[in-house]
């Protein structure tokens, strides 16, 4: 196995459940992630699937340290980033980026596309910001005059491509894509997935792709991790998982994929 980019050991996360908080004393805690162990190898495209509430987005947000795990260890290239504070994380931030589910919400509506892509570059003191923005626009297949558009002037697929451009402009090692095609129509989905696949190859990225849709995952990922109620119930190579799903829940997910021919089986 090649070198590991991420190593996750016994990762747990719980949040206080304020709805059930008694008048006095601390609120009971909701266990969201219940001790996850896995690794992500360099250059790998790993799919994280699971139903609603399975903790897959929470796991993703832990990986890019938008959330702080309550227990366990999170290693990025051997460095423990589990409890690093914002200041200590800052230099690392340019190495792991994230693409959000809803580009309308994740792109500041009052910034132009050029500004959206340039802001992280300026923040990290990258030289030749203009050149890098132009290059990022190029990579996602936009003409240069797109830089002067506002997000609301674009289609959903285009907005998501801006999200991708912003993430790759920093040239990170790792990108987390959180349900990035679930808000798009099928043809835009295909376009965005093709683009992402090409970029991962060209730039040698490591990608974690979160989705509830196994057919999307199958198209893109080499390895799949199935999450159910905060636990990993199955993790294997894509072909193996589709060929012989071991967990009952995985079979359920597989059965939920609409097929052109109902009698067809997954090859």
């Amino acid at each position: 196995m090649s070198e590991e980019l991420y190593r996750v050991e016994g990762l747990r996360l719980s949040l206080p459940d304020l709805n059930r908080k008694p008048l006095w004393g601390p609120a009971p805690r909701n266990e969201i992630l219940k001790g996850l162990d896995f690794g992500i190898a360099k250059g790998e495209i790993i799919g994280i699937v699971g139903g609603s509430g399975s903790g897959k987005s929470t796991l993703g947000r832990c990986l890019v340290r938008l959330l702080e795990p309550t227990a366990g260890r999170l290693l990025f290239e051997g460095q423990d980033i589990t409890h690093l504070n914002d200041a200590a994380l800052r230099p690392l931030r340019r190495r792991f980026q994230m693409i959000f589910q809803d580009p309308m919400s994740s792109l500041n509506p009052r910034h132009r596309v050029g500004q959206l892509i340039a802001a992280p570059l300026r923040l990290h003191g990258v030289a030749d910001v203009r050149g890098r923005v132009a290059e990022a626009l190029d990579l996602v297949g936009f003409p240069q005059d797109m830089a002067s558009r506002y997000p609301h002037e674009m289609s959903g697929g285009q907005r998501q491509r801006v999200g991708i451009a912003r993430a790759i402009a920093l040239r990170p090692d790792f990108i987390l894509a959180d349900e990035i095609v679930s808000g798009l129509d099928v043809s835009s989905q295909a376009q965005v997935l093709n683009l992402l696949e090409r970029l991962v190859k060209e730039l040698g990225l490591t990608l974690a792709f979160i989705s509830h849709d196994l057919s999307v995952i199958r198209r893109l990922c080499s390895r799949i991790m199935v999450l159910y109620q905060g636990e990993i119930i199955e993790a294997s190579d894509t072909a193996a998982l589709f060929g012989q799903p071991r967990a009952a829940y995985t079979r359920e997910l597989l059965d939920a994929i609409p097929l052109p021919d109902p009698d067809q089986v997954w090859a």
Binding site: Q97, P109, H111
Partner: protein
Amino acid sequence: MADARSLVKRRAGPRLWLSAGWIGLVVLAAVFAPLIAPQDPLAQDLFLGRMPPFWMAGAEPGYWLGTDSLGRDVLSRIIFGARIALSVALVAGGITCILGAGLGLMAGYMRGWVDTVISRFIDIWMAFPPVLFSILLIAVMGPGLISIIVAIVVIDWTRFARVIRAEAMGQGVMDYVASARVVGRGRISTMLTEILPNVLPTIVVLLTLEMGIAVIIEAILSFVNLSIPTDDPTWGGMISEGRISINQAWWVLVFPLIALFLTVLAFSQLGEGLKNRYDPVLR
């Protein structure tokens, strides 16, 4: 391809033109008051008392809008009164806006104990009756332009703080804030570069409303004689004086009232007009 909404130039529209035009006129009048005022606003001439405006019989040439009971020129007093009205609007409105919006932005974005402290402070502050509060303040500080500005700031900052806090809270949960964190932007920087541009349209509208309100508060305080010493012409003071002689000389009351009304209206319409014209999201 993306649509071409950004290529369509939005016309400014009559709302913006008219309001900006009137405010421009008032600004010019205030700046060049000594040059354009036909008479000395303080000169009294009891032989010229209560002269009607120019189109009525018995009008005195050179006194376009008539004179008050002491023979002072109404037009000149309105022009000089614009100075005080405008300085109150700009200075009091501006300080109120910066203070209130700043605190509201911090409370709404940072949440936690910052929000608790600021919000409780606002609640307590708003429990004071504002008119009594301002009268008390001016009684302590003594009448004058500074006292009026302080009174307006002290009373009205909560209006900004509450509205901007709610707006900033709504913006703070958007993913673009999380996305700024992912690239490693600090909290203060996120507040200023991500949240502020999105609450700015609201701030502008509130600011222009506040400018109108400041002019009204100044007029009210002048009306109850708590503003500037009565010699200096203020619109509120003129309205108050005109009230006494309303049956003999209505113009002493009506013209400053019209100036006040138009200015307040222009300020509030200016805010809306600017927002419609320049907010990229509304295109």
